[in-house]
Symmetry: C2
Subunit: 198 residues, 2 copies
């Protein structure tokens, strides 16, 4: 009925798609379910996108772009490096608990991307972004606590991303908060040993 610019329509559909994936899983994210979520007709979908595949690509790319909420947030506490890192990981854990479906959607989108050679690079870009954000946080953390990394920060960041992924996956399965805090503690311990106090 109302005329909506194609760009807005694309954005609305991508938002709807992410909500559907979060709520019901990627298997249920059919074009029909997505347009229903967006309150559009099926034909409008194919006016905005050539195909469902094109939307999925766009969705993954958008999701990478919007990963501003870093592995560890901006405002880090002061203190010993190990404590700063642990606080950051715990902060991420709180974020995970606040919106588990979102992180589950991220995991599903990654797995989905890994299954086709054309999309695999999208997953790699997603993880490069994760590592980049982790790297920034770790540099700030070292600065705050007056420590110096004696391992390339990029490598430390890659380990942090791996540990964070593991925390996420295992918690999504067993929802064991105490166990995940132990993971956060162990992760911070291991990471902090890659730096020397100054």
């Amino acid at each position: 009925m109302t005329r909506i610019p194609a760009q807005e329509r694309r954005a609305a559909l991508i938002g709807a798609a992410l909500r559907v994936v979060s709520r019901n899983g990627i298997a249920q994210a059919t074009t029909r379910a997505i347009v229903a979520e967006a309150g559009m007709s099926l034909a409008s979908f194919h006016y905005a996108f050539d195909s469902r595949d094109e939307l999925m690509d766009e969705l993954i790319s958008t999701v990478i772009e919007n990963t501003r909420r870093a592995i560890m947030p901006e405002d880090l506490a002061d203190g010993a490096l190990v404590d700063v890192i642990e606080a950051g990981v715990v902060r991420y854990f709180e974020h995970l608990k606040a919106d588990p479906e979102h992180e589950q959607a991220m995991l599903e989108l990654t797995q989905y991307a890994l299954r086709s050679p054309e999309r695999h690079p999208l997953a790699q870009a997603q993880y490069r972004r994760y590592v980049e954000l982790a790297e920034q946080s770790l540099e700030i953390a070292a600065e705050r606590s007056g420590a110096v990394w004696h391992v390339p920060v990029a490598q430390v960041a890659r380990v942090l991303v791996a540990f964070t992924d593991g925390l996420t996956l295992t918690w999504l399965v067993d929802r064991d908060d105490a166990a995940s805090l132990a993971v956060a503690h162990a992760a911070a311990d291991a990471l902090s040993r890659m730096a020397d106090p100054r």
Copy 2:
């Protein structure tokens, strides 16, 4: 044509299903693809199983049962605890590299199970089994190196499973062997600090 007991047929279909999921992903694991892989007709499927859902449940359960290849294999080296653990994680990593599609299939099956309330317990059982196997390995590792855990071994094992999951997921994305070895090293470092040398 030939008469095959229902039980054998079920086993053959489950094996075929796992191969299809490994090779092409869970989204492609349709009943048609599975019976084609097993060399059966479509009707034979529904003679052996009431529904596709029933096969998926059975597949996940079977996969749990067959997780004998522990997170860390039986024959652990002697030496300092940290080295024994790292060797074990590296051994798992070699296993991952030898058959990445299998581990990818495990991850997809877990994610799939998480999406329905009835199947979530299956995923939890899968992870309890992982933790149990990790626990056994960690007990042996401590024994070999003459160390004593000062944290409940079950908790250490849960952390090991999380770290291993993270190593798996990140490696499947970027295939960065060096980075994954760094993850293995950091993981062993953190875990070994949960024990005291005797």
